[in-house]
Symmetry: C2
Subunit: 143 residues, 2 copies
């Protein structure tokens, strides 16, 4: 049985992924798109906050960030809360509830990130970021 | 080396998860909330299309679906496109771009689902569903 070895490896992997997540957050704050995409797989599939609904490829992802950085008016705040990470074998996932503020705009952005271990280190192979839909329906409709 | 065994197991796991996803879709179409949550972990963390931004627990998830089923006016269409699944060790993830139509409302909903193998079968431990944010900004702002 290698179960305890597997568990030790998963624990090490989770620690590494937490490092990558914090490095990614620092890259966002520094508006450094090269650092930001440095651990992304070339064919990453991204469901971003804004359209298109789905995009494939790290270059499109990079362009979205660059466009957002270029459009920013005011200082940026990017806090990650409720960060949970799990790893097993060559896969891992992380999710968090982030506070993203630019000037007077202040949003909650949910993030789910899936990683695959490729050539010994972790790469983002899928990312899903979103804000909850504002509902038009009457909250008392069931009363 | 057990690499080829690992690969055969991952392939079997992916097939099982595709079965679970199709069973889930059929449960949605049947508006059967019990079948819908039958492969969810009790403490699943869900980032749903509508607020709250994050919820924990299969009972809250079940209530969201029941509320939505109860509010439906018109026939339901639920198609899953671009379904991709990966598995390794005790973790797996799936993502898809779904078409969800109720009566005259017709939406694209992105879904990311993370699974963990518990007691020999797969359970959903995290789910993230969203629609892209409608942008207010001028698409020609960079010109």
């Amino acid at each position: 049985m290698t179960e305890s070895n597997d568990r030790a490896q998963a624990s090490e992997d989770v620690a590494r992924i937490r490092e990558l997540i914090e490095a990614w957050r620092q890259a966002v704050l520094a508006k450094d798109v090269n650092a930001l995409v440095s651990h992304y797989a070339a064919d990453v599939v991204v469901f971003d906050v804004v359209p298109p609904a789905s995009l494939r490829g790290v270059e499109h992802y990079r362009e979205n960030w660059q466009r957002w950085f270029d459009s920013m008016k005011g200082p940026l705040t990017f806090e990650m809360r409720e960060v949970e990470v799990a790893a097993s074998g060559d896969l891992a996932y992380a999710h968090s509830v982030n506070r993203v503020a630019v000037g007077e705009q202040d949003d909650i952005v949910r993030a789910t990130v899936c990683f695959r271990k490729i050539d010994g280190d972790w790469r983002v192979v899928h990312e899903h970021a979103s804000v909850p839909l504002t509902m038009d329906m009457d909250p008392d409709e069931k009363s």
